[in-house]
């Protein structure tokens, strides 16, 4: 990883941000506060950039589309810099608060970078690297639309938009996969913080904006309350060592969803989507506050929501429910024009979400790719939460566990009350402030968090049941935002019980942030142990594979043959580096989102016997081998293939831990 590449990646990732500042200055001409302009610019710019990039990819070659969009946004960014210099908007936050906010943002950013990096280099998580970053690498190296890295002849039913941004940074800057995705992830994390701050501060005040943003980015299950149950002293006297091993579980709860701190390491596409979503939220607030540029504001808000949905489809129902609540509120106040505008934003957002290639457009337009999705309406699960989700089910949590066979629990089961006491407190107090203190601005925020929690009780994903818990994850972050708003309301209340209100507010924020605070000092330890014993040699192999023409298809020996294998660090995790950093397909047919059955069956035959028919059907031309990990049968199989001149040694890594063979089929003998 070179510092120059990293700097370049961050500069390129910042271009949409600065361009977004120009758009905000244009659409909210009365806004002269620099914290608001900078805060909102990130989300607005990211939303606009994503849709601007994905739309021409429908009809232009990828190289032209990426360059054209970058040139446009660089022009906007330069224009923004010139305008900022000319107008000199004021920074009206005191030095103390500024330092506090930037310090907090610094810790959040370091946490995001650590969690992201540990997923790539230390085997902390796998899906980000093995699936989403792999797609990014293939997009950067190949044509459009991208093929599935695990089923290279097939388009995958998946979202492409955030990966498209990462791939464009790689193409334009010539930077590496890690640098590009790290840069867009961190930029998006800061944009989320800024977007929430600017949106809420526009409605209330900077203090409310800070509390809401802090609540969102630090929200996690209250698993720190179970720290006393940690087995410290039982088998190791070192609290540090025990807690470092448990730090993931601290932030993660029994639902298997997790605090926002872990999101950059698990799914960077979600981070990008949420950033764009808060860009849309800011613009909608500006519109409802009576800005003069109504049509343009509505159009750009719809663009942001469309980009958000295209980057992470599960955010769309939450945004639609929120916009519906807003429209309803406007209608109740007989502001028909505002109600109609908000409804149009929602409709246009949905329409624009179908423009980028990806899962939503595939499903909506009834293509063969879209037919692989299967959702069910399951109201019998109403007011329940899934217990099993994502990669790290909380059944591994030493603190709060549910029986292994119990896949759903009621909202009001003891385990939920223990894990999410602050969610109930925040929702209850939020409702109190709405009805008793007429704080109607809370309604959409409360509505979006509630929607996210309710959806898993109404719908199921029949292909990947686990996916429905993604709503719960987003619900946790949004509930953190609501908790922040409620805490700010409590903090700013006056009267006899002021101290009591403040105490409740502080308690609420401690419950929201406790796990995040408890785990933060242990984050650096996540970078210590690597699961990849031959990491430098894996990167040598990746560089060798990447240097050749794009389109290689590899058999990895020993390596994964199923999805469950792919998302592990077994076999020293070599497959992840082949498919992601090497931009080489491993045609094992990951799942039902591609032609998983056909690829899986053929790959298994190729893996077990180097069966020529299967190898040819899959188009495998490369075999990547970790010789020290081979079983005796596998070693013999390779020796036989070498003697038969079907395998030719192409590359040996520096310490001999990795070999790359060219596979010669009968056709290219």
């Amino acid at each position: 990883m070179s510092p120059i590449d990293l700097t370049l990646a961050f500069v390129l990732a910042a271009v949409p941000w600065l361009a977004g500042v120009r758009l905000v200055m244009w659409l909210a001409p009365g806004e002269s506060r620099l914290p608001i302009l900078l805060g909102a610019g990130g989300g607005v710019g990211i939303g606009a950039f994503l849709l601007a990039l994905m739309t021409p990819l429908r009809f232009l070659p990828v190289e032209i589309a990426a360059r054209g969009v970058f040139i446009l946004f660089v022009v906007l960014a330069i224009w923004a810099a010139v305008e900022l210099h000319r107008r000199r908007p004021g920074w009206d936050i005191s030095s103390g608060w500024s330092m506090l906010v930037f310090g907090l943002l610094g810790v959040v950013v370091v946490g995001a970078a650590i969690n992201f990096a540990s997923g790539v280099w230390n085997g902390a998580t796998h899906e980000n690297l093995a699936v989403r970053m792999a797609m990014t690498a293939h997009m950067a190296a190949g044509d459009w639309p991208p093929a599935d890295p695990y089923a290279p002849g097939v388009e995958r039913l998946y979202r492409y938009t955030a990966q498209g941004w990462g791939a464009s940074v790689m193409r334009i800057g010539g930077v590496g996969l890690f640098e590009a995705v790290l840069a867009i992830t961190i930029t998006s994390v800061v944009a989320i913080f800024g977007g929430i701050f600017a949106t809420v501060a526009s409605l209330r005040s900077y203090l409310f904006g800070l509390f809401a943003a802090a609540g969102f980015v630090t929200a996690a299950h209250a698993s720190f309350l179970g720290l006393w149950k940690a087995p410290i002293g039982e088998y190791s006297v070192s609290r540090g060592e025990i807690l470092a091993g448990l730090d993931r579980e601290l932030v993660q709860g029994f639902t298997g969803s997790h605090g926002f701190a872990l999101l950059p390491g698990n799914d960077f596409t979600n981070v990008v989507a949420i950033a764009a979503g808060f860009g849309g939220a800011f613009l909608t607030v500006q519109l409802l506050r009576g800005s003069s540029a109504r049509i343009l504001l509505a159009a750009l808000a719809a663009v942001c929501f469309g980009a958000m949905a295209a980057a992470a489809e599960q955010t769309l129902p939450i945004a639609l429910a929120t916009l519906a609540l807003l429209a309803l509120g406007c209608a109740v106040r007989r502001d028909w024009r505002a109600a109609l505008t908000v409804t149009l934003i929602a409709a246009a957002g949905v329409a624009l979400a179908l423009v980028p290639q990806g899962s939503l457009s595939a499903i909506a337009f009834g293509s063969e790719v879209g037919s692989r999705a299967s959702f069910g309406f399951t109201p019998e699960n109403f007011l329940t939460l899934p217990t099993d989700a994502m990669l790290y089910s909380a059944r591994t949590s030493p603190f709060f566990t549910v029986p292994a066979e119990q896949v759903r629990v009621s909202f009001f089961s003891p385990i939920v009350l223990k894990e999410f006491p602050w969610v109930f407190l925040a929702f209850g107090l939020g409702a109190y402030f709405i009805f008793r203190a007429r704080r109607f601005y809370l309604v959409p925020f409360l509505g979006m968090a509630l929607t996210a929690f309710l959806i898993p009780g109404l719908f199921t994903d029949r292909v990947y049941p686990i996916n429905i818990a993604r709503f719960t994850s987003v619900g946790v972050y949004l509930a953190g935002l609501v908790a922040g708003l409620v805490a700010a309301e409590l903090w700013t209340r006056s009267g006899r019980y002021r101290t009591a209100y403040r105490a409740v507010g502080v308690t609420l924020m401690i419950l929201v942030m406790g796990s995040w605070i408890a785990s933060a000092p242990l984050w650096p330890a996540r970078l210590y142990d690597t699961a990849n014993a031959s990491l430098s040699e894996d990167l040598e192999v990746a560089a060798f594979l990447r240097d050749g023409a794009y389109g290689r298809r590899a058999l990895v020996l020993p390596g994964p043959t199923t999805l469950a294998d792919v998302i592990t660090d077994d076999w020293e995790g070599q497959h992840k580096f082949v498919v992601a950093f090497g931009a080489t397909s491993i045609p094992l047919g990951l799942d039902a989102y591609s032609e998983g059955g056909w690829y899986g069956a053929h790959y298994r035959r190729a893996y077990d016997t180097l069966d020529p028919e299967a190898m040819e059907a899959l188009g495998i031309d490369t075999v990547v081998v970790a010789p020290q990990l081979l079983s005796a049968d596998q070693a013999e199989m390779l020796t036989r293939a070498e003697l038969d001149d079907r395998l030719v040694l192409d590359f040996v890594s520096s310490d001999g831990a990795r070999y790359v063979y060219a596979y010669l089929s009968d056709d290219n003998d």
Binding site: W97, G103, Y235, G240, E241, W523, Y528
Partner: protein
């Protein structure tokens, strides 16, 4: 006793700076036992034994870096509270030609069974080398003694359990954990040399926390002078860091 505001300011100023300097200096210079390997998972533990002066438990092992203390799991049979002295000897190799370090401890019978026993070595042993250790059970020990073991741990690849000075079961190892006594600054320099990215995250985290502390100090002490505010900004994270290090590692 009346203290004038000026005197109070001076005292506050001196207090925060003394606290700040002391806390950071202690955090950096206090020697602590840093775990340099992990203890076996609870679920993977097996008892090995009974061991004795004849059935001597030994282990061939490699060190990830220099080691100054080794924890092993020992169960002393007999009534709770009964104890027996156990020695540890570390040799260059399994032939025991050269003694490298020695230690002793007195494990006690506890209800939990296997208990973590710390052996502080009289001399720190080198890193990235292989050694052989033996537990020495005294001949007059009246209680049955078991040691904690583990089976098929990939992190113990190349290690080997010995019983009666002969190779034991090939898939078993003693469960152990290594510690290295270092000051915070020594540990940081080591981490910076082997895991620079980890060192960077530590530095950046400290800078961010110092920023937060500066902001808080500025807000809370805005009527005091810059020296008091900067002293509090330094002292707050220093005290927090010291408390954290002591709680995690001491």
């Amino acid at each position: 006793m009346n203290i004038s505001p000026a005197k109070f300011h001076t005292l506050a100023l001196a207090g925060v700076w003394i606290l700040g300097v002391l806390s950071w200096a202690t955090a950096f210079l206090l020697p602590l036992d840093w775990p340099v390997s992990s203890m076996t998972d609870r679920s993977a533990l097996i008892p090995i034994g009974p061991v004795s002066e004849f059935v001597v438990p030994g282990q061939l092992f490699g060190t990830p870096e220099a080691v100054s203390a080794i924890d092993v799991l020992i169960r002393v049979g007999g009534p709770f509270g009964a104890s027996t002295p156990v020695g540890m000897a570390v040799y260059e190799d399994v032939e025991r030609t050269s003694l490298v370090a020695r230690s002793g401890a007195e494990p006690v019978s506890v209800p939990a069974g296997l208990a973590v026993i710390r052996f502080d070595l009289d001399v720190a042993i080198d890193g990235n080398r292989r050694f052989y250790l033996e537990l020495e059970i005294p001949p007059d020990n009246p209680w049955p003694i078991f040691v904690g073991g583990t089976r098929d741990d990939p992190r113990r690849a190349g290690d080997y359990l010995y019983l009666e000075r002969r190779p034991g079961w090939s898939d078993q190892d003693l469960a152990y954990q290594f510690f290295r006594r270092q000051t915070g600054i020594q540990r940081f320099i080591h981490i910076a040399s082997v895991r620079p990215e980890m060192a960077w995250t530590i530095v950046l985290s400290l800078v961010a926390v110092l920023g937060m502390s500066a902001g808080l100090s500025l807000l809370a002490l805005r009527n005091y002078g810059w020296m008091t505010i900067s002293g509090a900004a330094v002292a707050l994270p220093g005290l927090a860091l010291l408390a954290l290090l002591v709680w995690l590692l001491l």
